[in-house]
Symmetry: C2
């Protein structure tokens, strides 16, 4: 069976039969806490938007990795970068590395090393390490838990779509897509209270299905509660698009999706801004409620190895 | 300045001005020990020999990373793999992953996760983590220390050269080049006794210069003492080649080069097989002694971003 027939998710599911994978990062017990390790690859041809700068690439590779650490409820402390690329001016590489270093420092993380190799196309693999007393997995959701999310959704995917179509996009929204920030502070707090968690890198629908399947529960999503950025909603409407489609099926916002008991969620809400968007149900599957309509939410999002 | 004008070593040296890099792996103090983290990238177009199998690729990416952990005197415990590649049969990827998992297990290391992405050419980035009470750096060599090396040198580079020229090569020697093993057991013992260490991934001459420069000392290398495999010497001679050239300037053997005081070296020799090949001197530079000839040893080896 070819990888393109299987798709990235199925490839990873099949590999998980002989490797214990299935969360945003790996975790290993070290004395009285857990070391959390994440590795994430960016390949220029498929991941980098037209017009992205070297600084933004450096920042992005750190963000995607720190987002994985946050999604485990861990505090990041170290980052490594393996860089492969064609011949280039040294000052471009320097700009990328310095931006990565700045982004690490911003989140209390040390950029401690890496590797530099020749490759025909730019390929970056980041590795981040963090610690937590309690790794939050995708498999911990309990029936009755509330589902919540940080930030707003859909903006990044809207920008990606506009840029790829060659449409104009306001600068503030482009920055949102090209310079996402990891929810590091939120991840640390959620490490104390969340029952399940993942970052929304592929799409909300994919992430909800992942939590439902891995927790052996169902999810009831209240569409009207999904937090959207007003400016992005307006921009989408002006282009004849519905931002909700991007919020449900688009990725790139790097927000955290999590579940928690009602009591724990109140403690979370004392510390950070989150939005309640649904609940964990006994009935399997992901059901969306939109006004009067109730329908099964399709699992759809960006996937590698898909035509 | 272009990367091809600078070469990989100079690129890394320049980056080390704003990042603290310069050893085989990064190390971070965690309670009473050090977490050692290494990341190493293999790019199919430049790193993989013709005829290498998926199993051998999986084994190799683990070996190069565990070799870096060994070179720090650390014991490996975790491995992650970020895999990028074109569409392929799933069973090929499965063979690669399973071989990587076997190689991890062989060295008491858990293969805990990774990333899988589409890329036009196969690119693998491994990350390994280890622990040590005492990281061995390249900068710790002291005047009067003895220089020694594990295993034999030159065989892997000879094979690479022969395969690239399309010459015949005996199977046992090909396996040596395509399936190197990390000196994991040796690295753990040397973590107790070595004053400086590195793995010989680029070449012996490069590694000696690295230790000399970073330790602010000189090195006196006894050419006649360099351990060579008899079979490889004979094969090279039959082809009109001198294996010593490959031992001095070729890479791929993944042996450990280290320095230690005379007393400590005796303790090392009680546990593992090593060969003394020179000494650390006050006079800077790397000097080779070959019978009656004494000459400065050129720093030469495989380097990325070199035409």
């Amino acid at each position: 069976m070819r990888l393109t027939e299987l798709g990235e998710k199925e490839v990873i599911r099949r590999m998980s039969r002989f490797l214990s994978i299935g969360d945003d990062a790996a975790y290993l017990k070290i004395d009285d806490r857990y070391l959390v390790l994440s590795t994430d690859m960016i390949y220029s041809e498929t991941h980098l938007l037209p017009g992205i700068s070297y600084e933004q690439i450096g920042k992005l590779i750190v963000t995607v990795n720190l987002s994985d650490i946050a999604a485990m409820g861990a505090e990041p402390f170290a980052f490594l970068l393996a860089y492969g690329g064609p011949d280039d001016d040294f000052k471009n590489l320097e700009a990328l590395i310095k931006a990565a270093d700045r982004q690490c420092k911003k989140y209390g993380t040390r950029y401690v090393g890496g590797d530099t190799k020749y490759a025909q196309k730019m390929t970056l693999t980041g590795t981040a390490a963090g610690f937590t007393k309690r790794p939050v997995l995708r498999s911990g959701a309990k029936v009755g838990d509330i589902i919540a999310v940080t930030g707003t959704l859909g903006g990044a995917a809207l920008v990606v779509d506009c840029l790829l179509r060659g449409w104009e996009c306001p600068k503030w929204l482009i920055r949102k897509a090209l310079e996402p920030e990891p929810r590091a502070k939120e991840g640390i707090l959620l490490g104390k209270y969340a029952s399940a968690m993942t970052d929304i890198s592929d799409s909300l629908s994919t992430s909800l299905h992942d939590i439902a399947i891995q927790s052996h529960v169902g999810v009831r999503l209240l569409i009207d509660e999904i937090p959207l950025d007003e400016g992005a909603v307006k921009m989408a409407a002006d282009l004849g698009l519905d931002l909700m489609d991007y919020a449900l099926y688009g990725g790139g916002d790097y927000e955290l999706l999590f579940t928690a008991s009602g009591d724990n969620l109140e403690l979370v809400e004392d510390g950070i801004l989150v939005t309640r968007i649904g609940e964990v149900t006994k009935e399997k599957g992901v059901t969306a409620v939109d006004g009067q309509h109730v329908f099964p939410l399709e699992k759809k999002g960006y996937e590698h190895f898909r035509g």
